[in-house]
Symmetry: D2
Subunit: 479 residues, 4 copies
């Protein structure tokens, strides 16, 4: 059955020999058992298992038109508003299992792939573009339920406006076009889940300016010459009490080095075509589809923050304070706006000539751009409500020690004893203050792009004419 189980996922990943570097050493032995990865891999496996959970498998999968196979619903290319709703339900089911904390959970990448498959018309007839290969690849991925990471962004060596005037020496580029395929050399950022997936999808960053930087392909993660260099791990082999989130959802981010990597032609979707590379983003369905997934997930994450805030309010008994209420309501307002924008985007979806139903890009852009400011503010609210409680976080073992009873007493809350109270604050801390939590905040600050650039994108796609006509009419009214 195409929709895999967690066991199948772990088996596949465990058997690969991807070159993953962590702390100056190459990861040896199955990555599924490595302390820096096993938590997230286990969680991801649980996500796959949910595809087979009787109670919800109807939501989680769809039946492929072509093969009749049960496929993960995030691979689905929506043909109706109901399909959009089904995608959202599936995405939020997974997000609910992972607290919305895995930005690169398979549904994200499956959605990217589906959006690419739904955008092949942009590549049709363009030089060095192979829409058929892309379509075929999508089908393989879908039927085999491959897991993916991706990398689009160039290294940050020079971000000046005029950097393009200088030769780029770090960004991955095509250095040879051989009979067997392209040869790629250079680096790209930041493959989240690098080393934890079957495949890596590689595309040039939006705005490519040279032919050698304009490409799109996918290769197995253990392709020779491909190296994943990890940042420091933010999981420390702690229990789920001590590290309720980082022990389970630490996805890892990696720099990807292409050390003269050969990409076989059947995996090359486009190359040496600047115009096509850029139009694939701007005219294809990448933006509306992935934004739809992102916003669906962010909503669940916000619900979790709201729940944590409410628990803190309850356990230290501060609900009567006006400023406390206002802070909680800030989260509520953000949450309800996000939900409304997502719903509005679905309600205003349009069907294209191919029968594909596309949610409104505009509303989703607004949602994700707002979230870049809302999320950090929400984590700040948790800290302001939690106050000293966010620092009063002894270890699980302290409660098991001879001191346990005293700690249960002295650290009690209004509605729970010390051990349970600290459990709550550990969750709040891991969400908003641990190295893991701060990385989550950074991640949301920049999801889908720098906030300044996202704002500019909205300016550019927005239709300013209706409001200008209205204002012009008001200017001319006679009294």
């Amino acid at each position: 059955m195409p929709a895999i189980t967690g066991e199948e996922y772990k088996k596949r990943i465990g058997a690969m020999k991807s070159e993953v570097w962590l702390d100056g050493k190459m990861v040896e032995g199955p990555i599924t058992e490595h302390p820096a990865f096993r938590g997230a891999i286990q969680t991801q496996a649980e996500l796959y298992d949910l595809q087979h959970d009787q109670k919800i498998s109807e939501t989680m999968t769809f039946s492929c038109e072509k093969t009749g196979n049960k496929i993960g619903a995030s691979f689905m290319i929506p043909k109706s508003t109901a399909d959009l709703g089904k995608r959202r339900s599936m995405i939020q089911e997974w997000a609910r299992h992972s607290g919305g904390l895995m930005g690169r959970s398979p549904d994200y990448m499956n959605t990217v792939l589906a959006s690419f498959a739904a955008s092949v018309d942009v590549l049709e007839g363009e030089e060095n573009c192979y829409p058929d290969r892309l379509l075929k690849f999508y089908e393989s991925a879908r039927e085999k339920d491959w897991s993916f990471t991706h990398t689009f962004i160039n290294p940050q060596s020079n971000r000046s406006k005029l950097a393009f005037l200088e030769e780029d020496v770090t960004n991955a580029r095509i250095i040879k076009r051989l009979e067997q395929g392209l040869v790629i050399k250079g680096a790209k950022l930041l493959a989240t889940q690098g080393g934890m997936t079957d495949e890596i999808l590689v595309f040039s960053a939006p705005g490519a300016q040279e032919r050698c930087h304009a490409y799109g392909f996918s290769i197995p993660c253990d392709t020779p010459g491909l190296k994943f260099v990890c940042r420091q791990s933010f999981t420390h082999n702690e229990s789920s009490y001590n590290a309720p989130l980082s022990s389970r959802y630490e996805e890892m981010d990696t720099v990807v080095i292409f050390d003269e990597v050969l990409v076989p032609w059947d995996r090359v979707f486009l190359h040496d075509n600047i115009k096509a590379a850029n139009q694939f983003y701007t005219q294809g369905k990448f933006v509306p589809f992935t934004l739809h997934q992102i916003v669906s997930r962010q909503i669940i994450k916000t619900e979790l923050l709201l729940g944590i805030a409410n628990h803190i309010v309850e356990t230290i008994n501060i609900s009567e304070y006006q400023h406390v209420q206002s802070k909680v309501v800030e989260i509520i307002k953000g949450l309800e706006s996000m939900k409304a924008l997502l719903h509005y985007a679905e309600s205003n979806a349009v069907k294209d000539e191919a029968g594909i139903v596309i949610p409104s890009r505009k509303s989703l852009y607004v949602a994700v751009n707002q979230f870049q400011e809302l999320y950090p503010r929400f984590t700040e609210i948790i800290q302001l409500l939690g106050a000293s409680g966010m620092m009063t976080i002894p270890h699980e073992a302290d409660f098991k020690s001879s001191l346990g009873k005293q700690l249960d007493h002295f650290l009690q809350g209004v509605d729970r004893k010390g051990e349970e109270r600290v459990r709550l604050f550990r969750l709040a801390w891991d969400m908003t203050m641990s190295s893991f939590g701060s990385r989550q905040t950074l991640y949301e600050r920049f999801f889908f792009g720098d906030p300044v650039r996202l704002s500019q994108a909205i300016y550019q796609i927005y239709d300013h004419q209706p409001s200008m006509h209205f204002a012009a009419k008001m200017m001319k009214k006679k009294s």
Copy 2:
């Protein structure tokens, strides 16, 4: 035909002898011709005329089930989601004619009345409550298309938390219960359009604490003893070029003095019942219905602000600046969120036992509470974009004078000559900086209540349990 024309409205108002005080004098002669009122009265008349505009009368009116008469759609008690949509369309049609600048346009008050009529169940069987009278009154108002102002709020003489411990000496209260009716003495704030309407609807403020302050009634504006004391007028007899908004939409706000006013029993809907007076707000349909009208209007007003911003950007040619784009996008984000929340409230409407369809209070509360901060920020953006242009506003007559040609030249914009450029900036100024514009800002800051209290209301009505369950589940996950 019940849905009146502008002419009928003006005739009716012009014939009344309401006691309206302005600048230390009682208004004499027909108020429809008084410089402080005629602009707004004329605009209101145009609104009524739109009910008979062939192109849109389908939207503007509905056919009364009972009488078969064509009635203004804002009187309609919605029985389906389509009815909600029709109400919105009608409200926004009027708002589009008035730039959303008339907070007390008849649709607002009609909606209040409809919400009251839809809430009579709350009064059923309660002491000193007369749901039948209210229903009958609503029907009369609807069939005669009466215009209304209202006044709910107590004078601001003491806002301390413990003010209720002292005897209230200013707030209008019942001083006698006679055979002919109640006698009311005291003052209330702030009847917008006081003197410009047929009737005034009077209810106790939410949170009434004494029986003599717990009431609800409606009386004609020229009832003896009733006095409307105007604030300073913000219209100065200027042309529509010089004062494009205040010459047309200056509604006036009034203090209402009840100088031992007799309210006949058939106009008394409730009295001397604290519990019923408060429950009528909290359990009736006042909140969701009026919020639906308010948010519908605020959206149009935001579109106008966006249009003005876009014109300024165009005429001084600043669209290339990143901070300019971000500022315009701030308005866009607010606008799109408001639209999404309104739509979401309609999509989540529920039908009560009486078959009345009620939009979601939660989403609308969020929208209106956000708008209290968004609107002032939007006006700030207009000022920041307009800069010195907001002060370079010579008089229409200057352009007609011998200097006109030079001013057309020296004050030109990129896309228009001086006279047209100043027309734009006059609009921007009247919207955000004239005495009229600032009053608009204050009005939106406090629409539907003090922002701090509105936020508390959201805290109280929100269901915090789902998020707390979710967080509790996340707390207990094992790794």
Copy 3:
């Protein structure tokens, strides 16, 4: 005696025949009696009279080294920290009389002149520059206590970054260099107090890019060909009760048209020298001296806002609310920061080779740039505290009418009867919401330049090295 009286000022201005256009007509008769000007002229006369007030004349004037005459202290070029303190005291004395509401009170312009005179070294030896004439002119102005307006800014016809590529058609430029002097044609913005002063000081805007736009001169306001075109007046002939501020402090802003105006050579300080024109701003003492005056004034204005906020809190009895306290404290924090920055700038003043003592530009820039955001926020706080009181503003005549007693009762505050309570709210409204008040807000938003550009100026003048060295050292510490 050089430091003039109010009477002398009024006599001089009243006798001039400056060409001032208002509402499509040229002002005729003495401008000192014109309703749009007489309030501000009267206030300005009172300021001059304070120079002769026995109690403070020591503060207000200094004895000229050269002539021994008593001169207004704002003309003084400071030679010691004590001189800086004296300048501040004098400036704040005047600001206290006018609530800090006159941005172009004579001390501002006198300070500009003094800063120019203190910067003649920049012009020394430069082509087409006449430092001696400037010095001599300064001395005349000082000894005669001339009043000034100025105009530096170009019309806003095109603000794009590439506007300089197109021919400028509106900005005032030198069109002829004759034996008698320069001939100037074009327009400039925004001469505040245009028509109310003896002289107008004209300099090219910072960043001039063409020789014909690079100049500096001063001419009498009634020079032939010079026209002042007023914006709409924001004073409406109201009493000081109804319009406590606009009746006294409405300065007027004007577009200045140079209709081939001849500037005699002895009044030309520089011309056709782009480098000198720009360096005169950046290397001269204009920035630190005028900023010192501005910040001194803004502090007093903030004190007034704080006082109004405190009165509102008291009269509606809301001091117990936490959010009310926090709002008042926001003003306090802004005020105390401004005071501290001003003091710090004086404490860090440096003496140049000529013995002139220059306050620290850096601290003053920070203060004025912060104020651009603080001031609008403060006015917002007044509105949020004042709430409905800001709209409940009947006319003075209402209190004198037969209704007066009732209004005194119904509009009472905790500590004052209605007439006095409305007096307070009228002040609050005129400060933050009337057309006059909004223009004050706009004025402070842009004082000394667009906030974005001011921020960039700070970036450029700041010495980033010390902090970078510190961080580098921290990077290298060993554990």
Copy 4:
């Protein structure tokens, strides 16, 4: 010589047998060698050594009037403005060594002690108060250069306004008054550096409501029954490259349990006197003296943040972007305001009858309350500037591995190779995003109290009269 060296400090602490619990175990062996403590202890030792650094020992110490000994300057009770300046210089010297990252560095605690000694007049003649003992204790501490932690705050079990109505069961209280001393039972929060110091100073929290909670004493940290329960450690035995800050400045926070601890009478400064306990804070010199130390330190910390921001801007070459400049200038404005407020507080210091010079509480309160919002914003700016660089943080060992050369190349910045670029971003990350960095942010959010309460304190101590008189005068001006 009283001012100790680092060696002496380490020897003393290493020899103590304080009961410190971490991760469910009691710390065994000398704490100076324990991985969770040795970094901070080493840094603290370096601070002590700076007292003997020839180049600055003049700044770091003063000569005791009484004994002639060289004493750490933070023990000094200032008798002149110069003394205040010397205190500031000394504090900032230490802060510069530790990046301002140690909130409980000895100067903080020494300042608290000095402020207590300077406040003995408040205890004079009060029941159960022993000013002489306090004075004598201060002298011992000063002469022996004891290190201190303190604990004032009650456990957070119930923060409701009415919590005082219920019996407090967690807060440390006096349970017996014996001949040998007081017996204390219960818990207190959050002793930073708990276990790393000679002594712990214990006072009731401000606002004590019961006699048994009103006390003040100091005891050695290894007093029987005294237990320090650590939160999770935020240092992970990493190199100074990987963890430039947490490897050196992780101070640890502890819950303090008093398990029937006997406090001998000569260490009891007050007990069972609610009034005295509270007045000691409000009328003594605790507030101005400690605020002076805090603000002095926070300024240095801000300089470090500014330096980091500047390095990031330089290495990824983004200085040309307007929003980047504005963000850096935000830090500059905060820094300059803090410096100005500190200077202003010193300039406005007053001398009391005892000849003690007290800096202005008002300005310092403003500074510290502003910093509670500024600091988190500054860390946000670092994240927004650093962007993906904040996640691209491989391990030091990666650079030493066979990949090192490639990483040096691919992760290069404009001005430095990969290893140095990552060193910078590691610093930025450890400052603002690691568990250590987030705890720093929380620490500053609540330094000297909850921001809401601090703001209320400012409201209460501020003299509102002058501004009200000014506003009243403006209200009455005649035009």
